[in-house]
Symmetry: C2
Subunit: 418 residues, 2 copies
């Protein structure tokens, strides 16, 4: 079964927002052992929507659209689909009832029967929208399936969760072929060095077992191997072989996870398992380390808190960094970094504290300490070590890299602590 | 001139990463008064790349590709383009020289002449890549233009910055038609209420002047009007009329900006202009408010710092929240919120401090205080007010909404302070 996504929206083509629904649909399909064939973004114009439908119906069995079902006049999806399929727009009682229910759920006044939500292209089925207002749509066309949802990511996701399976499975029963991906996440070695120097035979070895991919990430590379098998036993055998290849690879010390957890998920899982409390003394990362960690449910078990000490006075006043240290070594120095992490560790009684102080730019760099310079303090159980580094990038990239490096230090401390 | 983007990469169709290059290209084109026609994502397979090229060459004058130029074996773009155009892959001295220069820039060992970077489809020009390793590519095909860049967003951006204009402008001189967009950013009223109740004639009034769009944002709506004119004078007249419509609209109190700055950019600009210092006492937002503010260059002028007080002990110990307050009212209460903001304000001597304490879930909710409950403390010049609210959403959505509400409080305090 080939599945294509048509994203309808000027706001995406004009760069006002980024498309989030391709990724949502991909991850949703992966759970069902299905793959997204292609994703196409077109503008809110009838001709563009027609062209998109034409392209996708040519190569796909199931076309999913996102966007353009809303109540404002730039929402053209229903009209464009109707004209593409040569169907009329008709009043639909079930669509009316769904819209009515949605309004009640949000305690919003009654929707009138002349509201756009109550009209559908002929032959379409209205679908409940459990998270928003606009009903979804479904129809069959020349033996193919067309499923339309709202563009708001949350609403699009609920269309998938609530309706996709039920509708699609009737026509396309699950394949008996098993598909599984093994992801090996590595740190601190660039892609080309991995396959060129560290382990030049790795790619070919893995290719004998499945489809290999390499994805550079922040300060690391994810190596993926997609395995296919006809029985669970065969799959297990293949997975064992993949893992054995990595176990014996010179790349092994760089592997920090075999699996799909994000770095922050992995850290929170490990800290909670070992019951090790931690926190951050953040300067140039400005709260990003803490934000990333607190995105993970359950982080409150071991993450105690952080201080974002942007101003020097805050470094001194809350974190107890000596005025002399700031004066003699400056705020971006291993001395300040060390006092920041040990200061916070004493203040909040966290076992591990990582501090980050650096220059995210664009202003503030000097020839000795250019933008991108960063110092880390790592306090674990009262003992403090410091590190310094220099990274390339603009302000947002630097914040991300600084935070990634800090999280890798945290991970390494968690790994060696008990 | 019609421009299309072909994004080549399994990692995007499999949901491992989100596409960032559509947005980059859109924003780049906007600066040049150009528009992106469509954006298509295909997998790293020769047949899929062929189909993508075929589709885009059908409707576009300029096709830009991103991805698949790297050094690993899943990078197929050059081979697929060569076979699509019926061209051979040949050794290119200029491509070799560009790759060599790139390696020197990164202090990486010399690239050999048999490296994939040194080969191009026949008739292609190699383009310097000022931020990465893989040279970009350019050729003409049946009077149309094909420009290929690396998928890494930073490298793709440098392809545009360094080469797009020079190459494209030779064939397509700038249009004399002026295009400008006015964006009016509103808060705290949903889209449908704006156009249905608050100002039902707004859309039609604006439509007489240009192309209207409505984009729901976090806790607000951006209304855009795209204006076209043949002279600067005509454009000025149209802009004046648009602004007059909003000036006289009942929506006016909800407008927080006429322009394209993000909320955090707008806040930092205003705080720096008024020289008003501020900080956050963050609990459930976990550092996100601080992270958003510190993404903005120049934020260090007035943003002093924050405390992420995730654990109750940190609220008590650093922010001076009374143990009795935590015990009698709990951590998620307007009492705790008020003591958090006033405590931090005294500690770091910031004029304005906003505190946020709430339940981001998924665990921790009760019937009285369900997940989504949030309390805010707003301390301005020593005076503290508190607010509470309830928002829908999952953990990440809630963190974002909580932070957005906090930033709106900060904005309102900045607006009324001098």
């Amino acid at each position: 079964m080939k599945i294509g996504l048509l994203i309808i929206g000027n706001e995406i083509l004009e760069g006002k927002i980024s498309d989030a629904n391709t990724r949502q649909l991909s991850l949703f399909l992966k759970e069902l052992n299905l793959e997204l064939q292609t994703s196409l973004i077109v503008s809110d114009q009838e001709s563009a929507i027609h062209l998109g439908l034409q392209t996708l119906f040519l190569i796909c069995d199931v076309v999913v659209t996102s966007g353009g079902l809303g109540p404002t006049k730039d929402d053209l999806t229903k009209d464009a689909i109707a004209s593409f399929l040569g169907r009329k727009i008709l009043y639909s009682e079930s669509s009316y009832e769904i819209a009515l229910k949605n309004y009640e759920r949000f305690n919003r006044p009654f929707v009138e029967k002349d509201h756009g939500y109550c009209f559908l292209p002929e032959g379409f089925v209205a679908l409940e929208n459990s998270t928003g207002f606009a009903p979804g749509l479904f129809t069959k066309h020349l033996g193919k399936y067309l499923l339309c949802g709202a563009g708001v990511p949350k609403e699009f996701k609920s269309l998938l969760d609530d309706h996709f399976n039920r509708i699609i499975r009737s026509k396309f029963p699950p394949s008996s072929e098993l598909i599984e991906s093994v992801t090996v996440r590595t740190k601190r070695t660039p892609e080309e060095k991995i396959f060129g120097e560290v382990d030049p035979i790795l790619w070919d070895q893995l290719s004998d077992l499945g489809n290999v991919s390499s994805l550079p990430t922040t300060m690391g590379v994810d190596i993926g191997v997609k395995l296919k098998a006809s029985t669970p036993l065969e799959m297990e055998e293949k997975k064992k072989k993949v893992l054995a290849i990595f176990e014996n690879s010179p790349l092994k010390p760089n592997i920090w996870q075999i699996g799909n957890l994000s770095l922050e998920e992995y850290i929170v899982g490990l800290a909670n398992k070992k019951k090790i409390t931690f926190g951050f003394a953040e300067s140039c990362t400005g709260g990003l380390c803490s934000h990333r960690i607190t995105n993970i449910a359950g982080s409150s078990e071991t993450f105690l808190g952080s201080v974002v000490s942007y101003a020097e006075a805050v470094k001194h006043k809350i974190l107890n960094v000596e005025a002399d240290t700031l004066k003699n070594h400056s705020a971006v120095s291993i001395q300040t970094a060390g006092e920041m992490s040990s200061g916070l560790s004493q203040l909040i009684k966290a076992k591990i504290v990582i501090s980050i102080t650096g220059l995210a730019g664009p202003a503030g760099g000097t020839p000795e300490k250019p933008v991108g310079t960063v110092c880390f303090g790592v306090t674990n159980n009262g003992r403090t070590q410091t590190y310094s580094a220099h990274f390339p990038g603009d302000r947002e990239q630097l914040k991300l890299r600084f935070s990634q490096a800090a999280l890798f230090y945290l991970l390494e401390e968690l790994e060696k602590s008990s």
